[in-house]
């Protein structure tokens, strides 16, 4: 049985832990708000882009002349999986859920005889896959030290993807990120980037503009090509923002749980501590009384 002093030390250390988790939870809550605002602020751009793009893509007459970004290379032998995770842990199942989705897909593709390449954004996901799929990780992008996620980072990742695509290094590109649904729910999501999966024009919110007949400068195909390339970085940016919000949300609920657990533990330990203290007092009294009686 632990001595009173041991118990006291235990209680103090759990209290210290609780202070840390509580602080982390509050920091995550503040960051979550900012990440959510950023995600919402980025929405108009992506929506516009989607609307114009799907409008244009509908008008593409023949698949032969269309950009390979839209219709693919005609093969699907090599897959590039862009896995977006966080740089830091302590956020519940956030990183491992994304890694799990990537792992499942990668294994399925490998079994089907395809070649798999993984581009790991963020350290945690790469660490998770290192043991069994480490040899498929062809490239990494670090997010260390980024305070505010800018479009530049997304453009950098998009450039990597585009230059590999231009070299014919892969046929199909899919990005993996966590869709932010609410603080307690983040959904790991796979989104195919190349060939582009376009949303229906009707559901993209700008359906009213679709009826207008536009003039195009330069011609439609050139604009479509330009937009498809822009679309890659926009989608990656969206993934990064969703991920940032999800990460903070996951961390917040994980730390909330940890704080509650610490409180429960403190309550339990305090109960044991008090019981032992009383037992000791009783014991000492008995010793004194029986000593006096013996005289």
């Amino acid at each position: 049985m632990a001595s009173l002093k041991d118990l006291r030390n235990r209680i103090n250390s759990v209290k210290a832990t609780r202070k840390i988790t509580k602080a982390m939870q509050m920091v995550a809550a503040a960051k979550l708000r900012r990440a959510q605002e950023a995600a919402i602020a980025a929405r108009p751009y992506a929506e516009r882009m989607d609307a114009v793009l799907s409008n244009l893509a509908k008008g593409v007459a023949s698949p032969e002349g269309a950009s390979p970004l839209l219709v693919g290379t005609g093969k699907d032998d090599t897959h590039l999986l862009v896995m977006m995770t966080a740089e830091r842990g302590l956020c519940g199942g956030f990183n491992s859920n994304i890694a799990k989705l990537v792992r499942n897909d990668a294994k399925r593709l490998i079994k089907a005889g395809k070649t798999v390449k993984i581009l790991a954004v963020g350290r945690k996901g790469a660490d998770n896959l290192k043991r069994d799929l480490g040899k498929f990780i062809t490239d990494r992008v670090s997010l260390v030290g980024i305070k505010k996620l800018g479009f530049d980072k997304a453009a950098e990742i998009a450039d990597k993807v585009m230059s590999q695509f231009a070299d014919g290094a892969f046929d199909v590109c899919t990005i993996y990120f966590s869709q932010f649904e609410s603080v307690i729910s983040q959904k790991p999501t796979a989104l195919q980037l190349i060939p582009a999966s376009l949303p229906d024009a009707a559901s993209s919110g700008a359906a009213a503009a679709d009826s207008v007949v536009y003039d195009y400068e330069p011609d439609e195909n050139e604009i479509l090509d330009y937009l498809l390339r822009r679309n890659i970085s926009t989608q990656i940016f969206r993934g990064l923002l969703e991920n940032a919000a999800s990460e903070q949300g996951a961390r917040m609920s994980a730390m909330d749980n940890a704080t509650r657990n610490a409180s429960d533990m403190i309550d339990n330990l305090t109960l044991i501590y008090n019981r032992q203290r009383q037992a000791q007092i009783t014991k000492e009294l008995i010793e004194i009384i029986s000593g006096a009686e013996a005289l």
């Binding site: 950023a38 602020a41 980025a42 108009p44 751009y45 992506a46 516009r48 882009m49 114009v52 800018g150 479009f151 997304a154 453009a155 503009a209 207008v212 007949v213 536009y214 003039d215 195009y216 400068e217 330069p218 050139e222 604009i223 330009y226 937009l227 822009r230 970085s233 926009t234 940016f237």
Partner: protein
């Protein structure tokens, strides 16, 4: 004088500007064009250059690196990857942009590209001069 229409400048990060304006000059891919109210619907890509926005109250210059413009009868939306509203940003950012453009000039491969970048550099220099 023609009526006003809505002008929106959207960057990937946020909406930078949303105002009612009289007239906007846009550096389109096939030459500059001026948008007034009831302009025919056009979608055009942009070259690096300066957008001039004018209304009764405001007159602003915005430098964009690339992007595209969507014109409808009562609205002009510009999706710009990088945009600087000249009066509002740190002049140093413009200097940085100029440096980037100059580097782009060195790596430009076609005459066309070189021409565009040269033009952008000239306009940037003029803007920096204005701001100073």
């Amino acid at each position: 004088m023609a009526g006003t229409f809505k002008f929106e400048l959207v960057s990937p990060e946020r909406i930078l500007m949303s105002v009612d304006v009289d007239q906007v000059i846009v550096p389109g891919a096939e030459g500059q064009f001026t948008v007034l109210q009831s302009h025919a619907p056009v979608i055009s890509t942009l070259l690096p250059g300066v957008i001039h926005v004018k209304s009764a109250e405001i007159k602003k210059s915005i430098f964009v690196r690339s992007g595209f413009a969507e014109v409808t009868a009562d609205q002009l939306t510009i999706l710009a990857e990088r945009a600087f509203i000249v009066d509002e940003v740190d002049p140093r950012q413009l200097d940085e942009e100029l440096e980037l453009a100059q580097r782009a000039l060195d790596t430009a491969e076609t005459d066309d590209a070189r021409l565009h970048v040269t033009r952008a550099i000239e306009q940037l220099k003029a803007l920096i001069g204005e701001a100073a």
